[in-house]
């Protein structure tokens, strides 16, 4: 294609640690927080580096990985779904609970819906059918009920606790 060569077409993002990461406008667009930066009048694509003090390089590259993969496999044939599933599983396998939560924070801060939805589903899958103790630990919740109060609630909703293993 004989188009006039455009200057620089990527957006520079600076995570709180590590080097500047360049992303395509297509990917940047999906991060609402970045998008509002870009739409700002003072933004000059060639020189401006967007600082992201709340996001680490690891988190940013994870999010970009996810968006890259999923924007390349938008075609929704049944067999594409299979390999997407595989990618998603691999993606989550590398994340411990704390990393997963931190990534959720980052996705929330960048306001990137696709990743946010995906991670929320992952958290939901993780805590489904799990014991109260597990869920408390996962969310970092401090139990402030007295023993009697807790017993009382458990009795009120006894059906919801049936068959759930306590650990």
């Amino acid at each position: 294609m004989a188009k006039t060569p455009e200057p620089k077409r990527t957006i520079s993002l600076k995570p709180c640690d590590g080097d500047v990461i360049e992303v395509s406008p297509m990917i940047a667009k999906q991060m609402q927080t970045i998008q509002s930066f870009i739409e700002d009048d003072s933004f000059i694509a060639t020189t401006t580096i967007i600082p992201l003090p709340n996001v680490t390089a690891f988190q940013l590259s994870k999010i970009i990985d996810y968006l890259n993969y999923h924007s390349n496999s938008k075609a929704v044939a049944d067999n594409v779904k299979e390999s997407t599933k595989k990618f998603d599983e691999e993606f989550l396998k590398e994340l411990e609970h704390d990393k997963l939560k931190e990534l959720l924070h980052a996705a929330n801060y960048l306001n990137v819906k696709e990743v946010l939805d995906f991670l929320c589903q992952a958290v939901a899958d993780l805590i489904q059918d799990k014991s109260v103790k597990f869920v408390r630990k996962f969310f970092g919740v401090v139990n402030d009920y007295s023993v009697e109060e807790e017993e009382d609630i458990r009795r009120t909703h006894a059906w919801a606790f049936e068959g759930v293993e306590e650990d």
């Binding site: 924070h105 929330n108 589903q121 919740v141």
Partner: protein, 314 residues
């Protein structure tokens, strides 16, 4: 989300609902869980106690079976469910009810639930009769005027005489449904649905033929059938002749791995080709070859080699 808050939160109790923003938890994560898990969060801490009541979703998928298996009687189960409905606060957008609906008592209970839900602005509903045999759709379903998505399973479609359509319906799915002639036509023509996914009982399918549809908004139709799918061709002919805005008709034949019937497969392809000749505006495409798949696909992605997809683009 400042990192120091996050770190501090590991040891000290801070006025936060958890490690994660509470909006993410209440609006997104809890929304994705079955109601049972959501109710259970009330025991986490004081701040969580009533959070479940505001989650705008009811998911009673295996609820009945689960309660039965741990020894609850039927009236106890209905009691639990009524209580949950009563304690709930605010709108409910998404409902899944998998219940046996066979006898009058059970049907009455489901109808009561639906009546209550009709005041909650339900937009999406999955209604699944988990009992052997097929019974009529609970009549109060038709009072859910805000539905955009409706999925019915193992029921017999019957419309009340004064039914005047789901005004906002976008997608309709019928799975293993008994549908008498005229009923489906009425439902679809009264509701501006754009997508219909039909997975009929093979032996009930022939009842669908021979009545004129008038559903000019229908854009996508997916039909999925198992082995005896001869009748489905009649339905396809029918949809092609009567849906003025149909764009995609997806016909999926899934005979299962050990039931391959090559002659039938071949004759289906032939029938569809003939149909194409008869209706010139149909673009017909059979999607069955591996080389047609996008290049980044790998061999193991094909779980069922006999599954074929027929696309008819009108």
């Amino acid at each position: 989300m400042n990192r120091w808050i996050y770190k501090a939160n590991h040891n000290v109790a801070i006025d936060r609902i958890s490690d994660l923003p509470s909006e993410i938890i209440s609006k997104k994560i809890l929304y994705l869980l079955p109601t049972r898990d959501v109710v259970r969060t009330s025991v986490l801490s004081r701040e969580w106690r009533y959070m479940w009541t505001m989650v705008p979703r009811f998911e009673f998928h295996v609820f009945f079976r689960m309660c039965k298996s741990v020894g609850f009687g039927e009236s106890a189960i209905f009691g639990i469910m009524s209580r949950i409905l009563m304690l709930h606060d605010g709108p409910i957008y998404n409902v899944t009810l998998e219940f046996p609906m066979g006898n009058l008592f059970r049907m009455g209970f489901i109808n009561n639930c639906l009546k209550f839900l009709s005041l909650c602005g339900v937009q999406e509903i999955i209604l699944h009769n988990s009992e052997e045999g097929i019974c009529e759709v609970p009549s109060n379903l038709f009072s859910l005027q805000t539905l955009t998505y409706c999925m019915l399973k193992h029921l017999e479609l019957s419309l009340p005489p004064n039914f005047c359509g789901f005004k906002y319906l976008y997608q309709l799915e019928l799975s293993h449904m008994k549908v008498d002639s005229g009923k489906l036509e009425n439902l679809i023509s009264l509701s501006p649905s754009h997508v219909a996914r039909l997975e009929p009982e093979p032996e009930l399918l022939n009842e669908l033929e021979c009545r004129s549809f008038c559903h000019n908004k229908l854009k996508t139709v997916e039909i999925e059938v198992k082995t005896p799918y001869k009748n489905a061709l009649g339905l396809i002919r029918f949809l092609l002749a009567n849906s003025s805005s149909l764009e995609i008709l997806k016909f999926k034949v899934d005979p299962g791995i050990d039931k391959l019937d090559t002659p039938l497969m071949l004759s289906t392809s032939q029938d569809l080709l003939e149909m194409k000749r008869a209706t010139p505006r149909v673009h017909y495409k059979v999607n069955e070859d591996r080389q047609n798949q996008p290049s980044h696909e790998h061999e193991s992605d094909f779980t069922d080699p006999w599954q074929k997809l027929y696309f008819l683009n009108v």
